[in-house]
């Protein structure tokens, strides 16, 4: 059980990293258009 004493903080840090990455992605506008990219992938071949 003692493993949790360092596993839990590590998990929290990893979680925090993902939250920060998500925030950066949102601020860069990655989620602004959710309709177009799924269409685009079908047509862009070059």
């Amino acid at each position: 059980m003692n493993a949790f004493l360092f596993l839990l903080p590590i998990a929290l840090v990893i979680g925090a990293v993902f939250v920060i990455l998500f925030a950066v992605a949102v601020r860069n506008g990655q989620f602004d258009d959710l309709d177009d990219p799924p269409e685009r992938i079908l047509h862009d071949q070059d």
Binding site: V19, F31, D32, L34, D35, D36, E39, H43
Partner: protein, 773 residues
């Protein structure tokens, strides 16, 4: 790879070929272009090395029309630090994915363009270019040459990044807390955890849950506060109450060393935010469509002063100035013509589609479009003083209606009161029967499971789904409130010109032989009558011959040689053109406004849906009756002026009906504002779009029907899922009163109830498809 066209001829191929660009039948030559526009479009496409477009497209493009001069100089352009310019436009007429593809690639291959994307979903183009190599009018011209119509984009709703961030954080937090709580729940069966570790798990959960309750859920608290302050019932009140109780309970249980509802809290907030996001996305799309249409109003004018022409923003224009107006431009001010002549379409003001001939000395109004010719106008009124602005202001005044609380909002106070009563009852009864501690536990459980999460999700999810279903069929609605109003409509009133009819010049009568010769002469002309004649010949599948020695005299007519004979095409009586050959008159073609092709089937389907269909027209009674009988509309109110239409609608509403009104011109504005649901035809006046609840984005009437179907499907989906939600709350509260609910039960029940609501909301599209069959 050898490109093989997927498409055959557009209509009756007969002898000869078809236009390789737009598929119109052409006489004689194989692979001859039907007009200069198509030839240019094809040259641009081939020049950019995009022949693949012809092999892959699934719909013919529109035939390129002479570009309607737009005031590109007034369009906002952002300049980056490296000197490149960027702007966003709307492109109309994109019919298939290949259209989008070819537009995007042609822009990318244009010299001076740094980057260009065209959205498949919204037809929005984002272009970045180097200003020293090219400019916006050139780029817009390239799009127009392909046959698509670029338009400036006025203000744009920014996507709600803040809401997305809150939702994402809540979702990540929910997963983390769920993992920690799973460990705690497991302890219920496998023997309690070491208290030190249980405390570690609980406190960690509390740390993660705190920003969820305070920051992520802030929009719900703000909504609840606003609702309470304005004494407007709002579903956010019981939701905020539920979230607050969940958090306080979690805080207290963590301190005293028990399991709380923190996992349910985070999941609930995340789900509610998903609902909010869906709602705001649908609303944003509709708002963008509306602003895009409104942007058609000119923002710059050409002022002529001391024989010099200067381009100035429309705000700087003063009464007494002289302005130049070219073909295809929209008048920016009221005034009197001092020189020139031309064909002016005043549909915006009068609602009539037919252009009228204007000459020196006549009064003209802002918003009119110069279809042909050139004018110099002495400005008499600008800005807010123009006739069109005065009408628009009346319309805006009429449109100022507060947003009605939704059905969910209306039951919210009862919901809150009932929850508090049941909670108090539980507290007192359990305290008296069993004791204080279980009494508090049960009361908290009641308050927790009574949180109307599923109820709050039902409307936004079904609403977003319904808005999407309507939008896919060509009706863009402003909000799910409009959709809700649309579901209960029982009278459908249509304007005549531009709504039941196409509102544009088209051939009404004329035999094939006359049409063939006329089209051969007019093939390369850009005059509206010429376009109408060629379009009709193409529609009937008459292969286009090629006239020789064609001479066009503006304002008079066109002459040329065809089949070795000389022909002249001239304007006859109102709405008629006369074709004269060597031996006198060879035929006549009547032009006018025709009913939309889908008007009759739409009216039939509406009446089958137990709706009363009425036509309100400003035109003479006989004309209106004629159009009505063609389309199967039994009830006609004509002639009715703008105020008359609005008061007719008000009378119907007073006798208990709920009225949908669809119209196009500014003269329909008061009616659109008065109706329970006002729908503007997208081809109509920009200002009518501003007051409307919805916009038909295609050249059809059927989207109105599709919208009603989507609205009814949405209403049924909402009703079904709200019943589920209420049923769940009753059962869960009952269980909580009896002491059967603990954090684990809540954590299992809540996602199940929300899942059922989501499944039910997603049934809107299925229901609409069933109605269409």
């Amino acid at each position: 790879m050898n490109p093989t066209p997927l498409l055959g001829a557009r209509a009756g191929s007969g002898a000869g070929g078809t236009c390789p660009h737009c598929g119109t039948a052409v006489e004689g030559e194989q692979d001859a272009y039907c007009c200069g526009g198509c030839e240019l479009a094809a040259a641009i496409i081939r020049g950019a090395g995009l022949e693949r477009y012809y092999a892959e497209r699934s719909a013919f493009p529109p035939r390129p029309e002479p570009e309607r001069a737009t005031h590109w100089r007034g369009v906002p352009v952002t300049t980056a630090s490296d000197g490149s310019c960027e702007t966003r436009l709307v492109v109309d007429g994109l019919r298939c994915a290949s259209c989008v593809w070819v537009t995007e690639k042609v822009l990318q291959h244009t010299p001076g363009v740094a980057a260009a994307t065209v959205s498949y979903a919204t037809g929005r183009a984002t272009i970045r270019w180097r200003p020293e190599e090219t400019d916006l009018p050139t780029l817009a011209g390239r799009i127009a040459a392909l046959g698509y119509r670029p338009r400036p984009l006025a203000g744009e709703a920014t996507p709600d990044r803040d809401l997305m961030l809150r939702m994402g954080f809540a979702a990540i937090a929910a997963v983390a807390i769920m993992g920690l709580y799973e460990g705690l729940y497991a302890g219920w069966w496998y023997g309690a955890m070491d208290p030190r570790f249980a405390a570690l798990f609980r406190w960690t959960s509390l740390v993660i849950a705190t920003p969820v309750a305070i920051w992520c859920a802030a929009p719900f608290f703000a909504g609840a506060v606003a609702g309470l302050r304005h004494r407007v019932p709002h579903i956010d009140v019981p939701i905020a109450l539920g979230i607050a109780i969940l958090y306080v309970q979690g805080l207290v249980t963590t301190i005293i060393g028990q399991d709380g509802y923190l996992d349910s809290l985070a999941m609930l907030v995340a789900l509610l935010l998903v609902g909010r996001l869906m709602e705001s996305r649908g609303r944003r799309r509709a708002a963008e469509a509306a602003t895009a249409l409104a942007a058609a109003v000119p923002r710059t004018v050409r002022r002529s002063r001391e024989n010099r022409i200067e381009i100035i923003p429309v705000e700087q224009l003063r009464a007494g100035d002289l302005i130049d107006v070219g073909r295809g431009e929209e008048l920016a001010a009221d005034g009197v013509i001092v020189s020139g002549s031309g064909l002016l379409r005043m549909a915006l003001v009068t609602g009539e589609a037919d252009p009228v001939q204007v000459a020196v000395g006549e009064r003209v109004v802002a918003g009119a479009i110069l279809v042909d010719g050139a004018l110099t106008v002495w400005v008499s009124a600008v800005g807010d003083d123009t006739v069109v602005q005065q009408m628009a202001r009346q319309v805006e005044l009429a449109a100022e209606r507060g947003a009605a609380p939704t059905s969910v909002d209306r039951i919210a106070p009862w919901f809150t009161i009932l929850t508090l009563v049941v909670a108090t009852g539980t507290l007192l009864a359990t305290w008296w029967l069993i004791g204080l501690q279980p009494a508090i536990a049960r009361t908290v459980a009641v308050l927790v499971v009574a949180c109307p999460c599923a109820l709050a999700l039902a409307a936004p999810l079904a609403g977003a789904s319904g808005l999407g279903a309507a939008a896919r069929r060509g009706l863009l609605l402003r909000s799910s409130d409009s959709l809700r109003a649309l579901a209960t409509v029982d009278v459908v009133a249509f304007d005549k010109t531009g709504t039941v009819t196409a509102g544009a010049l088209a051939v009404v009568a004329g035999d094939d032989a006359t049409l063939r010769i006329a089209a051969g002469l007019e093939r390369y002309s850009t005059h509206p009558i010429a376009r109408a004649i060629v379009a009709e010949a193409a529609r009937r599948g008459i292969p286009l011959p090629r006239g020789e020695h064609v001479r066009e005299t503006p304002g008079l007519g066109i002459a040329g040689e065809l089949d070795g004979e000389n022909y002249r095409l001239e304007r006859g009586e109102a709405g008629e053109v006369i074709l004269t050959g060597a031996f006198g008159e060879a035929g006549r073609i009547r032009l006018g406004d025709v009913t939309r092709a889908d008007a009759a089937p739409t009216v039939r389907a509406l009446r089958a849906g137990e709706l009363r269909v009425v036509m309100l027209s400003g035109d003479r009674s006989e004309v209106a009756q004629d159009v009505a009988s063609h389309t199967g509309i039994a009830e006609v109110v004509a002639p009715a002026d703008p105020a008359g239409k609005a008061s007719w609608i008000a009378r119907e509403q007073a006798s208990g009906h709920r009225v949908l009104f669809a119209g196009d011109g500014l003269n329909d504005g008061p009616g659109l504002a008065a109706a329970d649901v006002g729908i503007a035809m997208g081809t109509g006046a920009a200002s009518s779009v501003l007051v409307a609840d919805g916009i038909v984005s295609t050249d059809h009437l059927a989207p109105v029907l599709a919208g009603i179907r989507a609205a009814r499907a949405m209403l049924r989906a909402v009703t079904t899922s709200q019943r589920w939600a209420v049923g769940y709350n009753v059962v869960a509260v009952g269980a909580a009163v009896l002491g059967l609910v603990n954090p684990l039960v809540a954590a299992v029940l809540m996602p199940i109830s929300s899942g059922i609501v989501i499944w039910s909301a997603s049934s809107v599209e299925r229901r609409v498809r069933r109605a269409e069959r």
